[in-house]
Symmetry: C2
DNA sequence: TTGAAAGCGCTAACAC
DNA sequence: GTGTTAGCGCTTTCAA
């Protein structure tokens, strides 16, 4: 038994499809009697309207596409949950795409989502040279976490956090806690987050009058692939603390520290950009720059729905959400380490 | 400028829409010359085929619906990533739905996804009295992690792990490590996972000849809502170790342990069902029952695609993936605790 | 208050 | 190798 369609319902209720459509959409006036008849027919046939056909006709899918780096990263997980929760309210669905930071994959995702006729897009771009020109023409799009390339400046709504000052505060905290040789494992400079957090690190050193030391600076990526190895190099360069620029890198750092049998915070102090729930519960707990991750998703989706539903045509805006340094045990220096 | 459609392309290339369709689908034979003409037209118009219209016509959306409890739970996150990775290979998309373990939400998700005409479904059910009869008629569906209600026995493909023996092994390990009063915080009995892991706990006690003690058994849920409080109660009942039945509960346990200033594994030993990456890196590292989470998603999606693409009509099967106990530091008893 | 009919963008007989 | 045309399931003018 194939699924019933609108004409099956019409036939059973002995009305036209137009009338059925009217009761489905609660549009125009339908007499009480017919309405009931139709509803009964719908009930008995267990009819479900095809969003596909409807979408084709009225040109909306009630679906929005979300492009992120990797759902395994708790940062994106929480963001997606924020997006999801808003979308449920509007009876929208989201379809997810992981780029793994590969511009090529991002392009493919974008193609797929556009082919799927999504009503809007939320993008945490890879920062590669991706081409968003086809979205510039008013297609509802919100960028999150990372800004699109400068050439799109002012063209898209953007929701992100203050990476520079958040990072600077974190590093200054390390310095003020007595750490002297502060290493950093930066994410890729391709993304604005990677770049800005590194800038924050440099800013803090400058603010505190500490010279930069190339041996304390390692360039990794936000997937955390090489973090293990880079941490070892940092430790060999006698760093006494590390500013970890995202939570994926953090895992590699931990792995290296554990393998080398070193102790946090005495042998090496730690501050992480992005706070993950478990960091507060472990021994020692981790000092972190907390981002309002869920809120980012929530805000982005709200802005997006405003564009879609209210056809809001104001100039795109950039919303910067605050971060906050949460001081815990991993940055509490107790003994001066012997150099 | 609205998006170009297939007839725009046809017009520009001076061919019929059929021909355009043919080159799009690489079906039938099209002369090299026309093919090139069409491709050029596609290029210049930046044409993207509408999956919506196509889907309506051929009755497929290349979309599959995934119903899970909560994407914030790393278990589901990894599972979803497994599903995603397979779906990418087939050029399928997934749309996600969180139930938060509420049967009502699950029902709503199911309705939405079916209205969206998804080609298939992967479901980690809430275990409430949800009605899957409309799926029984051969709609491609795979259940994961949890079995559907017994009345659907043998009706659906299912991919899950051996919860009973995995749990039993975990608890026996605790006993064999010298722990005597082993508490448990169980998930809801609604889901087969909750029920079976609890069964595994009881089985282990029986195997080792230890009597059950009601004061050491707490009933929580897999959201981990009350885990904090329940842990306190367990500790007050003088338990010397806890079998934690999922990773969300784990966070509550940690919170309580930290607040009470107790030490793992000396004051309280710990084994968690489900291994999360960070558990191996922290001090002390956590003993865990590792589930092949990514593999579950991968397998489920592979089975599903086989049903969809190959119209595989064999009897539904249940695939049980192995779990393994990973012994780490949280269950390594050092001093006998003073009672 | 209701219905007939066109059409959203595409695919697939069928004809040439 | 290529084109004409019907129709997927729905919404929406227009007319009654």
């Amino acid at each position: 038994m194939a699924n019933a369609n609108i004409s099956d319902v019409a036939a059973l209720a002995k009305v036209s499809v137009t009338t059925v459509s009217r009761v489905l959409n609660e549009s125009a006036s339908v007499s009480h009697k017919t309405r009931v008849k139709v509803q009964e027919a719908i009930e008995t046939l267990n009819y479900k309207r095809s969003d596909l056909a409807r979408g084709l006709r009225i040109n909306e899918t009630k679906t929005i596409g979300v492009i992120i780096s990797n759902i395994l990263n708790p940062f994106f997980t929480r963001m997606v949950r924020g997006i999801e929760d808003v979308s449920q309210n509007y009876n929208y669905n989201i379809v997810l795409c992981n780029t793994d930071e590969q511009p090529e994959k991002e392009r493919k995702c974008l193609d797929m989502l556009l082919s799927k006729n999504v009503d809007g897009l939320i993008i945490a771009g890879t920062g590669g040279m991706n081409d968003y020109t086809r979205l510039e023409n008013g297609f509802p799009t919100v960028f999150v976490d990372r800004r699109p390339d400068d050439k799109y400046k002012g063209r898209f709504d953007t929701v992100l956090v203050d990476n520079i000052n958040g990072s600077a505060e974190a590093v200054e905290h390390l310095i003020d806690s007595g750490y002297k040789r502060i290493g950093v494992i930066a994410g890729s400079n391709e993304s604005t987050t990677g770049y800005e957090r590194f800038l924050g690190y440099k800013k803090a050193l400058k603010n505190r009058g500490i010279p930069e030391d190339e041996s304390l600076i390692k360039y990794g990526n936000f997937l955390g692939n090489m973090a293990d190895q880079l941490t070892k190099e940092l430790l060999e360069a006698n760093c006494d603390s590390i500013f970890v620029t995202n939570n994926m890198i953090m895992l590699g750092v931990l792995e290296a520290v554990k393998k080398l049998g070193m102790r946090i915070p005495d042998d090496v102090g730690l501050v992480v950009f992005d706070d993950v729930e478990w960091m507060q519960y472990i021994q020692p707990s981790f000092t972190a720059v907390a981002q309002p991750t869920y809120q980012i998703g929530l805000t982005a989706m709200t802005v997006l729905m405003d564009r879609i539903l209210n056809k809001n045509e104001e100039a795109p805006k950039e919303i910067v959400l605050p971060v906050s340094l949460i001081q815990r045990e991993s940055s509490r220096k107790q003994n001066q380490s012997i150099v």
